[in-house]
């Protein structure tokens, strides 16, 4: 699937949000607000459950600046999802709920004999979070909320090794691990007037620690002693994220949202994957040199709510990559990008609605990596149709 908005960070936590440019910090919509802004969930008019699935279709190319060759990805379809339910007294001050979502992910597989085969030829990083959440309405204008998220992840990184079998095939290394970690998702929602709402959210750093990780080397017998397969340990520091949003309702049928996010990836610096038992080719660890920085994201979305059995929405976001040109790598192609989205809903009854959205992302990045010397241009196109179902209790 490649990646969505800024390095590994996915922004696909609600089909309705996706349709309006992934906005909704200051606009409680459905149970997915538990993720988007826990502070706004107390302001939901109804309790309900929402299930959303997104199909991530991506194709990418890399054009080598020296050899002029074009390499392509062979990416499988991936389906990040979210499931949320909110409960509590809709007239009262407290609301609580649970949301399950996929906060980070990246799957990128290059066709065989790719330019980056000795760096990363295939990566799969999947995470799933479960976040019990409470939301408290301090007053009719102000709400706060907090959720504690437990995240489980799986990572699988493959590369070729420049050690050849007698048939000239290259050796391979595969690093596989489970990982898990906790972080906090908190938010404030403030609605000073009928037409305007403001929101501030914070998601704390998520340190994913590996457990039961292994590295497996497939190399010719005489060098197996140099490349001993064994356990590994590592930790993947995923970013803290600040969000600020405003929602404006100029007319009963129209809502306009504008938001900004800061993702602080500065801890994602050098990922040190330690070999637990013995050195491999003289090294006690293998390092992914990434040096990410801050990523920014600006979004606007507009929603048309005619009060009939349908709704329409559209939005656009602009992402500024946390990855510097000189540290771009074949695992996570990323760039500053404009992501347009549209969406709509069909309301079957008071209790049941279906949402649909379509998001597109276009990545174009010229990069000359100073560590690997990989020099060329990445182009990725992603099409992300999303469907969501909401049931109102």
């Amino acid at each position: 699937m490649g990646v969505f908005a800024q390095a590994y960070q996915l922004n696909l936590q609600g089909t309705r949000q996706i349709g309006k440019g992934s906005t909704g910090l200051a606009q409680p919509t459905d149970a997915t607000s538990l993720f988007t802004n826990p502070g706004s969930a107390a302001f939901l008019d109804e309790n309900g459950a929402t299930l959303g699935v997104t199909a991530a279709i991506s194709k990418g190319t890399f054009t080598d600046a020296n050899t002029n060759k074009v390499y392509k990805t062979d990416n499988p379809l991936k389906t990040p999802f979210n499931a949320s339910a909110v409960f509590g007294d809709t007239e009262g001050k407290w609301r609580y709920g649970i949301t399950i979502f996929t906060p980070f992910g990246s799957t990128n597989k290059w066709k065989p004999e790719s330019f980056g085969r000795f760096d990363v030829k295939e990566i799969s990083l999947l995470t799933i979070s479960v976040q019990p959440t409470v939301s408290y309405k301090i007053s009719e204008q102000l709400g706060i909320g907090v959720g504690l998220a437990y995240t489980y992840g799986q990572v699988d990184i493959r590369r070729d090794l420049p050690v050849q079998f007698s048939n000239s095939a290259f050796g391979e290394s595969q690093i596989k691990s489970d990982a898990n970690g906790f972080n906090v998702n908190a938010g404030i929602y403030y609605k000073p007037s009928e037409k305007v709402a403001l929101a501030l959210t914070y998601r704390s750093p998520l340190k994913m620690k590996s457990s039961g990780g292994t590295v497996n080397f497939d190399v010719p017998a005489p060098v197996q002693g140099t490349f001993p397969s064994q356990g590994i340990s590592a930790s993947l520091p995923l970013p803290q994220i600040f969000g600020l949003g405003v929602s404006y309702q100029p007319h009963e049928h129209w809502v306009i949202n504008a938001e900004g996010y800061l993702s602080d990836w500065n801890d994602y610096d050098i990922i040190d994957i330690k070999f637990e038992d013995e050195p491999v080719a003289g090294s006690t660890s293998t390092k992914l040199i990434r040096h990410y920085e801050n990523g920014y994201n600006f979004r606007v979305g507009v929603e048309y709510l005619p009060g009939k059995n349908y709704e329409l929405r559209a939005g656009i976001s602009y992402s500024m990559s946390p990855i510097k040109d000189k540290y771009m790598s074949p695992d996570v192609p990323d760039a500053n990008r404009i992501n347009p989205a549209i969406g709509g809903s069909y309301i079957f009854s008071e209790n049941f609605r279906i949402d649909a959205a379509l998001l597109m992302e276009f990545i174009h990045r010229e990069s000359h990596n100073v560590v690997t010397d990989i020099d060329g241009t990445y182009n990725f196109d992603l099409i992300l149709p999303s469907v969501g179902l909401t049931y109102i209790f």
């Binding site: 020296n66 074009v70 330019f115 420049p162 050849q164 347009p340 549209i342 560590v371 990989i374």
Partner: protein
């Protein structure tokens, strides 16, 4: 507002779908610049021929740097590139009639071993001249002086005075020189990478036999006049070209793999016995008292009066050709390592001076004739000192594991040839304002393991 929104959405998504469905072409437009590659002739020695693992054999010829280059040149008007190929299944043949080396396991240790007890003599006895002329005029063993020597392929000159690698590929062994065969093809473009053997022959025999080519002397005798003759021969055809200087041969694994202090003593008895045996030389200051752990080997040195031996000093080199099983059995301790396996400080200094003189000459010829100049010397010394990372893969001059050098420690692996070809392509691009794509390094390998 609703109508505007509709238009906005329609336009946005039309652009989006269009972009998503169009392959964004980021390739550059290739160009031959102001050179003409329609008839490229490569001139040189074993490094041009595609000799590796101490033999000329098919798989190595196919990845010779000129052949890799010629494949890239096809994109900018390059023509067919013919090579004097040997049979694909052959074990090949080396300068000593040997077969190619492969990596084997000897007594549980990885070790280069010949692929067959002897080389494929049919390579020398069967002429392939009828398939020529050959764009690849690389002849293993050629020096700049022999390159201009008429009758270089003539067996009638007697053993040691003709080159059987040339004999098999020339239509006129009795009279032709490498140069005459090369320029007869009226090349539109040439590469000349020669001069290595003018010093390498001295180096690989430990300074014991083959002399270094002198700078002075006429064509066929001196380096300078012979090199001029080669380049003038090509320029007379109106061709443009690229010429390469020669690397410091002593930074190749052939010279750097066996440590000077590889005499590792593990018990005091050995130390005492050696100290007793070498007591007179220790007194004379020719040998340092032996200690537990690493010690310098004892080497022959004819410059030491009477004893003719001494301990090797740091910086002096032991060659990969030394019988390594004998090192364990007392060579270099009980008996000195013979001169032909050692480069002493004096010999290294001669090699350094000769290499510098040769390279000065080559550079001045390139400048005087506006030829592309390939600085192989700097490239190899950088590879030797820092290694190189290419698309995330580290390549060094380390024997076997480094990737660049084949099992003979002097000639290149496929990936080593890719690196060399790309040095030529970069120099040609820059001199002739061309845009020739480089060879893709990701599909080529180094030493293959059993």
């Amino acid at each position: 507002m609703k109508t505007y929104l509709k238009y906005f959405i329609v336009v946005l998504f039309s652009v989006g779908v269009f972009t998503a469905c169009t392959e964004r072409d980021e390739t550059f437009t290739v160009s031959k610049g102001n050179a003409d590659f329609s008839n490229y002739v490569a001139f040189g020695n074993s490094l041009t021929a595609g000799y590796a693992d101490n033999a000329l054999y098919y798989d190595a010829q196919v990845v010779s740097f000129p052949n890799l280059m010629a494949e890239q040149l096809e994109e900018v008007g390059g023509g067919d590139f013919s090579q004097p190929l040997v049979d694909p299944g052959s074990v090949g043949i080396g300068s000593d009639g040997n077969a190619r080396l492969i990596l084997g396991v000897v007594d549980g240790e990885l070790s280069p071993v010949p692929a067959a007890p002897q080389g494929d003599m049919s390579i020398f006895t069967t002429s392939v001249a009828g398939e020529g002329p050959f764009n690849n005029m690389g002849v293993p063993g050629a020096t700049v002086t022999t390159a201009v020597f008429p009758g270089y392929g003539n067996p009638a000159n007697g053993e040691g005075n003709f080159n059987p690698f040339f004999t098999r590929m020339t239509t006129d062994p009795a009279n032709a020189s490498m140069l005459s065969d090369a320029v007869a093809q009226q090349p539109s473009f040439f590469t000349v990478f020669i001069g290595n053997n003018d010093v390498l022959g001295y180096a690989t025999t430990g300074g014991a036999s083959t002399p270094i080519t002198p700078m002075e002397g006429g064509p066929g005798v001196g380096f300078s006049a012979s090199y001029d003759a080669v380049i003038e021969g090509f320029l007379a055809t109106g061709a443009k070209g690229a010429i390469a200087n020669i690397p410091d041969v002593t930074s190749t694994p052939f010279f750097t793999t066996v440590p000077y202090n590889g005499l590792v003593l593990e018990d005091q008895g050995q130390v005492d016995a050696l100290n007793d045996a070498y007591a007179p030389l220790i007194d004379m200051g020719l040998v340092a008292p032996f200690e537990l752990g690493p010690n310098g080997f004892i080497i022959e040195d004819e410059n030491i009066p009477q004893v003719g031996m001494r301990q090797i000093q740091e910086g002096e080199l032991i060659l990969l050709s030394v019988p390594q099983d004998q090192l364990a059995a007392g060579l270099g301790s009980q008996t000195p390592i013979p001169d032909q396996y050692v480069l002493t400080a004096d010999e290294l200094s001669e090699i350094k001076t000769a290499t510098e003189n040769f390279n000065q000459k080559i550079k001045s010829v390139a400048q005087a004739n506006d030829l592309a100049f390939v600085d192989v010397n700097s490239f190899l010394s950088k590879l030797d000192e820092q290694g190189l990372i290419i698309n995330g893969r580290e390549i060094t001059t380390e024997f076997v594991t480094g990737g660049a050098f084949s099992l003979d420690g002097v000639h290149l692996t496929p990936i080593g040839n890719v690196l060399l070809a790309n040095q030529f392509i970069k120099a040609i691009n820059s001199t002739y304002d061309a845009k020739i794509p480089q060879v893709d390094p990701t599909v080529y390998g180094g030493v293959v393991f059993p």
